[in-house]
């Protein structure tokens, strides 16, 4: 019985680890959406087809997001001219708080407001931050849940390889 239980526990652990490591969205076409941006313009994901797009879901109450955003902005300013775009999707109920944080951090990439949480549902966002990389064909290639120092190196490698395709 004990052996059975331990095998079951092991299987559960393996399943949990594999589900964390890879998201079911990877390889799927990126769901299209349009949202109001910090500049006032409406932006639609499908209009960026042909470019590599990073979608970063964030919130003002999320500490790692605050840590990660300036680093993402560096990637954006560095690779924007070679076909890389970054869309920050804020999920706060009140967009004014997000605007304040954008000003504080001085990030230059477009930030979209998903106050109705429709887009975060489409992308199965269950943690903060979530970073999704979409290739030139509009397919989700990488999904990262959370942020830890050093993840930016991973992002850099993945962006460079997607840009080369």
């Amino acid at each position: 019985m004990n052996i059975k239980n331990s095998i079951f526990a092991l299987l559960v652990c393996v399943f949990a680890a594999s589900s964390l490591a890879s998201s079911g969205l990877e390889g799927q076409p990126a769901p299209d959406f349009a949202l109001k941006s910090s500049s006032g313009a409406n932006l639609r994901l499908s209009e960026y087809r042909g470019d590599v797009v990073m979608i970063n879901f964030w919130a003002t109450w999320c500490g790692p997001c605050r840590q990660e955003m300036p680093l993402l902005d560096e990637l954006f300013t560095r690779y924007q001219r070679v076909g890389f775009n970054l869309l920050g999707v804020n999920i706060d109920d009140d967009s004014r708080r997000a605007m304040k944080m954008i000003d504080e951090l001085g990030v230059s990439f477009p930030v979209l407001f998903d106050a109705r949480k429709e887009v975060s549902k489409l992308y199965e966002v269950e943690a903060m931050p979530v970073t999704v990389l979409v290739d030139r064909e509009g397919r989700i290639r990488h999904v990262h849940h959370g942020y830890k120092p050093g993840y930016e190196e991973k992002y850099l490698d993945q962006i460079r390889s997607l840009l080369r395709e």
């Binding site: 349009a34 949202l35 109001k36 313009a41 409406n42 932006l43 639609r44 209009e47």
Partner: protein, 198 residues
């Protein structure tokens, strides 16, 4: 002394025989190199042909996938929206000098069915004469109320929000409604009209 002479003569003979052998081998090596080059060329052209045919196969497969995708899309539409109960709503824009479209919200019989945000490109396409199918639905025969709320920038770049309502009769067969945004030059205001396509 004689031994030394004999060994010197032997060495000279050996050297001569080696040089003769080398002369014999040299043309053989050139032939082999030529043959190798020719076979490499042949294999290169063969691999190029193979690559070309593979490319053609990929193109054919791509076309088949696209055709299949189109057929599936049409089939899905036919199944989901049968012609008898189908209602489609279109947005069009004429001139657009007094109104910069931002979004359209559509309610049928008090229930929100569509909320579409227009990007600058999409709004520009409408001004250039494009027509956008904003929503498609299945409705029972009878009277239905449509409320369309348009938001955007009005004259003097002010926030603008206007609604238009129509009660339409859904008979047997598909129904098409056009929500048209036009400029009323006299009043310098935009106008929102809902038209039924015959």
């Amino acid at each position: 002394m004689t031994k030394t002479l004999i060994s010197l003569a032997a060495m000279a003979m050996l050297a001569i025989s080696i040089s003769v052998a080398a002369q014999d081998v040299a043309p053989l090596n050139a032939d082999a190199a030529m043959a190798a080059a020719m076979s490499a060329q042949a294999s290169e052209s063969e691999s190029r042909d193979q690559f070309r045919s593979l490319d053609q196969d990929v193109q054919t497969l791509k076309k088949e996938v696209l055709d299949l995708n189109r057929d599936l899309f049409l089939l899905e539409e036919e199944l989901l929206f049968p012609a008898n109960s189908q209602v489609a709503f279109f947005i069009s824009m004429d001139v657009g000098e007094y109104f910069e479209l931002d979004s359209v919200n559509i309610k049928i019989d008090g229930k929100e069915v569509a909320n579409y945000l227009y990007t600058a490109r999409e709004a520009d396409a409408l001004i250039r004469g494009g027509v956008h199918r904003v929503h498609m639905a299945n409705l029972k025969t009878g009277d239905h109320e449509l409320i369309a709320i348009f938001t955007g920038k009005g004259p003097h770049v002010r926030d603008y929000r206007r609604g238009a309502t129509i009660t339409f009769d859904k008979g047997i067969g598909a129904k098409y409604l056009e929500l048209e945004i036009t400029d009323r030059v006299k009043k310098q205001q935009p106008e929102f009209v809902i038209k039924e396509w015959e």
